[in-house]
């Protein structure tokens, strides 16, 4: 399992070298030892990363995730749990864990983490307001205001991260370098490393993004073309707006707001920013990967112009929230109940049948008994007498003759 830790002591010498190059730090002499590199690394990059981090789109998302995590008090680190606690926590999420031993623990930890992120995302999307969310983002940027002029280097760490997540979602999107920021982290099977990352290492560089608005717009346009969705005109408009405002020297905050709201709002929803309803971006972030499944589940529902899940998600919640037969009254109950119904339906005829059988039995017995009695019946003697009488009569007749 790949574990990336921001500890220079664990880096190999070539790795340290490339990190230093990536951060525009002049390398020491070629024959220097590893600790020289390490010192240089911790001096130059360690300080920098405490305040900022060279960013690309992914970092924006990462910082959001970290923030989100900080805001969520129920997000606990599964690595810190004991085996029993881990098992109990998994049970809370409806997963019945097997024995947690050395070979299974890491798997269950990851599973729990995924579940927590999913649950956290859902909770956020239900409760949170888009405005609040984007304002909190702005606060983050204010801290990093001074770092705007930085060189646009992408650190190796970020690249590694990229590669890591590429592996995870590469199957779905071959061109995910561009698409990646569309995805909320909870849909990437997260490695532990991400969880441990220091939020201070992420920097959002608004000016750079503002400068790259065209690129972002282009990439999202290609994405949009792939999805056969209408192309929002306001994307360009937005980019132009944020540019001009920075040129005109408007308050940086508004520029930043435009810049930050751009990648998550526009790209997540695939629709113009100006008509974006005030729903949480998280809904959209969650929406995008689920889309296919929902389309499968409800093929007849037409995609809404917003592309938002609100209407589509409701049936899922409804079905999960209350018992199924309220939702679908036609559905049969449990097989046991069904059986009982069938038995009850057969019950009365069965009882009647038994009664009829008994009556028939009694009748037959009565007939049988009466037949037996007939043997010593007066009728028998009567019959005998009759024959005797006829005999006598014939005798008398013959005598008379």
């Amino acid at each position: 399992m790949p574990v990336f830790v921001e500890d220079p002591a664990q880096f190999s010498k070539p790795r340290l070298k490339s990190e230093l190059i990536a951060h525009n730090v002049t390398l020491p002499a070629a024959e220097s030892k590893k600790h020289v590199y390490m010192e240089l690394y911790s001096k130059c990059i360690g300080l920098k990363s405490a305040a900022d981090f060279s960013s690309d789109e992914e970092d924006v998302q990462e910082s959001q995730d970290c923030e989100e995590r900080e805001k969520d008090p129920e997000m606990i680190d599964p690595c810190g749990l004991t085996d029993d606690e881990l098992k109990a926590t998994l049970l809370q999420y409806g997963v019945e864990a097997g024995p947690i031993v050395g070979t299974t623990r890491s798997l269950y930890e990851r599973k729990l983490q995924r579940l927590m992120e999913l649950a956290g995302g859902r909770r956020h999307s239900e409760t949170e307001n888009a405005d609040r969310y984007s304002y909190s983002e702005d606060e983050l940027e204010d801290d990093q205001d001074s770092e705007q002029g930085r060189a646009e280097t992408v650190s190796l760490v970020a690249d590694k991260q990229h590669v890591d997540s590429d592996i995870q979602i590469g199957r779905h999107f071959p061109n995910n370098k561009k698409v990646e920021y569309h995805y909320h982290q909870c849909f990437l099977p997260s490695s532990r490393m991400r969880f441990r990352r220091d939020p201070g290492h992420f920097e959002f560089n608004p000016r750079r993004n503002a400068g790259n608005q065209r690129n972002v717009a282009e990439s999202s346009n290609t994405e949009r073309r792939n999805q056969d969705l209408p192309l929002p005109v306001t994307l360009e408009h937005e980019a132009v707006q944020s540019r001009t405002s920075s040129i005109l020297g408007l308050p940086t905050e508004s520029v930043q707001e435009a810049a930050t709201s751009f990648p998550d709002k526009c790209t997540m929803t695939n629709r113009p920013l100006c008509i974006t309803p005030k729903t949480s971006p998280l809904i959209r972030q969650i929406k995008v990967p689920i889309k296919d499944v929902l389309m499968e589940m409800f093929p007849e529902t037409k995609p809404t112009p917003t592309g938002i899940a609100a209407t589509r998600r409701r049936p899922i919640k409804g079905a999960a929230g209350r018992p199924v037969h309220f939702k679908y009254p036609d559905l049969p109950a449990s097989p046991m109940a069904q059986q009982r119904h069938a038995v009850e339906r057969h019950m009365v005829p069965l009882w009647v049948q038994i009664l009829v059988f008994l009556i028939l039995g009694c009748l037959l017995y009565v007939i049988y008994a009466s037949m037996e009695n007939r043997l010593d019946n007066p009728f028998v003697t009567l019959l005998d007498n009759l024959s005797v009488v006829t005999e006598r009569e014939t005798k008398g007749m013959s005598l008379q003759a």
Binding site: T104, Y108, K111
Partner: protein, 90 residues
């Protein structure tokens, strides 16, 4: 998976006994070697891990991918193989 490999059928056909890990469907020489390095030299050890994960295919494939570097297809094949073996012999 609509069709199963010969290896799969061979494995599922009889009790695994002391078969090596490479007899598992989806585990070839390379993956088998990696598993052996981690102590999983017999098929029943992999079965043990499968059972420890409550026969959960998702977790098992994840583990197999981590442990041996198997790809999704191989891991799924191995998982199905073990599951069918369990259905037959457990």
């Amino acid at each position: 998976m609509s069709t199963t490999s010969q290896k799969h059928r061979d494995f599922v056909a009889e009790p695994m006994g002391e078969k090596p890990v490479t007899t598992l469907s989806g585990i070839g020489q390379v993956l088998g070697k990696k598993l052996e390095e981690q102590g999983f030299d017999k098929a029943y050890l992999v079965l043990g891990q499968f059972l420890l994960l409550r026969k959960d295919g998702e977790l098992f494939t994840e583990w197999l991918k981590d442990a041996s570097g198997a790809n999704t297809r191989n891991a799924a094949s191995c998982c199905q193989c073990l599951r069918e073996w369990c259905d037959a012999f457990l």
